[in-house]
């Protein structure tokens, strides 16, 4: 078995004692196939018993051991030390707590804010079966119906996406990717009865429309869940339920309308149509500065050649949608 000495640089912080976080270095003889969690356990058992982290199943199921390894949020129990060596080269492997959550101690973070958001956005199923009939009556979900939410059901709430999310990094009140994913999962479960209510909750301030679509959540999901697809589907659902009055929804509507009317985006009035008159006033100073540099968009957007064809497509699509709805 291939074996070598590997250096680890681990974030240490006990807010009750330490004025500032610091890093400890450890050298561990590691063999190929060993995981980061095995190393953490080894250090705790043999080198530094005070080192604090959270872990349980050791098999990528419980989601409790997520940390940042070389700057990227992942499960310690499924991350191979040798894979990280390939990334870090001669540098020590860096282990740090997840971002966007308060550190309780060392690598252990407080996940209560995530749990509170799950609670306040009804992240559970509200079945059509009355409670008194629970256990007596089945509500069968077909394989095809489950396929829609199959991947989203794999979420183990490890909070890696919470840690990687761009918007979470600048607004701790933001709803966060795992809560949006749960909302998608529940709203598309055929047993669910309160989808509309939940959608109202998740589209409130700091909610669904604040996602920057940076796709960091998707890239770093330990279960490879296409989280953005769930967020997209929730936004589609907002339009289907005619919950399209928010700035985010109005912004999306502008793209739809402008392609029909001009073929291109009419950038000049985009802020006005998204934010309204009052919301756009604050943009006037920037618009003036841009005008000096001749960067302001044209007042009248030139229609693309053949715009009639595009309008015909829209008419036919609207007819198709009307036929679908009536059937």
């Amino acid at each position: 078995m291939e074996r070598r000495e590997v250096s680890f640089r681990i974030y240490r912080y006990n807010p009750q004692v330490d004025r500032h976080p610091f890093y400890d270095n450890f050298k561990v003889a590691a063999e190929r196939g060993i995981t980061v969690l095995r190393v953490l356990n080894h250090i705790k058992e043999n080198l530094e018993p005070r080192l604090t982290f959270r872990a349980y199943c050791q098999a990528g199921i419980c989601g409790s051991c997520a940390v940042r390894v070389n700057g990227v949020s992942k499960l310690a129990c499924t991350t191979q030390v040798w894979d990280e060596l390939a990334e870090s080269g001669d540098e020590p492997i860096l282990l740090e707590p997840l971002n966007n959550l308060e550190v309780i101690r060392d690598l252990l973070v407080d996940i209560d804010p995530l749990l509170e958001k799950l609670k306040s956005n009804s992240s559970w199923l509200t079945s059509s079966i009355p409670e008194q009939q629970m256990g007596h009556k089945e509500h069968i979900v077909s394989e095809t119906e489950f396929e829609v939410i199959d991947s989203a059901s794999d979420c183990i709430l490890c909070a890696s996406c919470y840690s990687e999310c761009s918007m979470m990094g600048v607004n701790r009140r933001y709803i966060s990717p795992p809560v949006l994913l749960k909302a998608f999962r529940m709203n598309n479960d055929t047993r669910e009865t309160l989808a509309g209510e939940r959608l109202k909750q998740v589209t409130a301030d700091h909610g669904l429309w604040d996602c920057t679509h940076c796709y960091r959540c998707v890239e770093h999901c330990c279960k490879k869940i296409p989280i953005m697809d769930g967020i997209h589907r929730l936004r589609e659902e907002a339009f289907e339920r005619r919950m399209s009055g928010s700035e985010g929804a109005r912004h999306a509507q502008v793209f739809f309308d402008d392609i029909r009317d001009n073929g291109r985006l009419k950038e000049m009035t985009l802020p006005l149509r998204t934010k309204g008159v009052a919301g756009s006033l604050a943009m006037i100073p920037l618009a003036l500065k841009m005008a000096i540099k001749m960067r302001t968009p044209p007042l009248f957007t030139k229609k693309i050649p053949g715009i009639k064809r595009v309008r015909e497509l829209y008419l036919r699509l609207e007819k198709l949608n009307a036929e679908r709805q009536s059937s």
Binding site: V170, N171, C214, E219, V254, F255
Partner: protein
């Protein structure tokens, strides 16, 4: 080399200098970019929320026009890239959706088959053209100038749809900078979000993202930021003063487009490349 060139709305309005500097590639590099003038806006990661079918038909049509010209489709905007590639991925993997889209395109004599690839300009120059070949074309090496490469999200993530660079440690733009004689700096924000897409919805948060990236680049002592995306450019250039307000940064940092970076190394002046149109110069 010849490509169908997708016209991004922002380059048609606010960042006109991008297409202006690209028009020189035909003569300079023998890369002909045929403008897709009848193409529409891609919907910028927004159209599909209003109607997923419109999103597929509109972008199926855009790609089918490139197919009709027997050319790959190239874009200079990260979000157009991702939006078009998302549509392509769905159409290539769903015969039902492809049939639906084609039933709409038939009247215009178009048919989506999936034979044209959708690429970013950065990929064209680093992969199709090749950096070795580009190095030979450099007349004014960017020696002694350091650049903070800012990739932007939609050329990196999701890697399942893009997959050229490692999203955690992208290098293609760094290598391009080196090829042109410049020095790329390492800094933590190179693969982060510029905040553009929520500027009109969550301005304070978006500007914090923009400011974080700019501050990082300034701290790395880069002379310029360089980005392959006109949306990232707008966030970091037009909104720079607003984003940096109250941060006490020592200086401003100009932001270049990928096409301008290449133009400079090929000997064109700042005026020719429209760099003097930028807000931060």
């Amino acid at each position: 080399m010849k490509y169908a060139y997708f016209l991004s709305c922002i380059n048609e309005s606010m960042t006109k200098e991008v297409d202006r500097s690209l028009e020189r590639w035909d003569k300079d590099l023998d890369i002909e970019l045929v403008k897709l003038t009848r193409g529409t806006c891609c919907g910028g990661s927004n159209l599909d929320y209003v109607s997923p079918d419109h999103f597929l038909v509109v972008n199926g049509r855009n790609i089918a026009m490139a197919e009709q010209m027997k050319l790959d489709l190239v874009t200079s905007c990260n979000t157009c890239l991702l939006t078009l590639r998302r549509a392509k991925h769905i159409l290539d993997n769903s015969p039902g959706k492809r049939e639906l889209v084609n039933s709409f395109l038939l009247d215009e004599g178009l048919c989506y088959t999936g034979c044209s690839d959708v690429k970013h300009l950065l990929w064209v120059i680093t992969e199709d053209y090749g950096l070795d070949r580009l190095a030979k074309m450099v007349t004014t090496p960017l020696s002694g100038i350091s650049f903070a490469p800012f990739y932007g999200c939609h050329i990196l993530r999701p890697s399942s749809l893009l997959g050229k660079d490692n999203p955690s440690a992208p290098m293609s733009l760094d290598r391009l900078i080196e090829t042109l004689g410049g020095t790329p700096v390492e800094y933590p924000s190179k693969n982060k979000c510029c905040g553009f897409h929520t500027l009109l919805v969550a301005e304070r948060e978006s500007l914090t993202l923009t400011g974080n990236a700019i501050e990082d680049a300034i701290r790395s002592e880069a002379d310029y930021i360089v980005t392959p995306c006109p949306l990232c450019h707008t966030a970091m250039d037009a909104y720079q003063l607003k984003a940096m307000k109250g941060r006490g940064a020592a200086r401003r940092i100009p932001v270049l487009h990928l096409s301008q970076l290449i133009g400079l190394a090929l000997g064109h002046s700042q005026h020719e490349l429209g760099i003097d149109r930028h807000m931060i110069t």
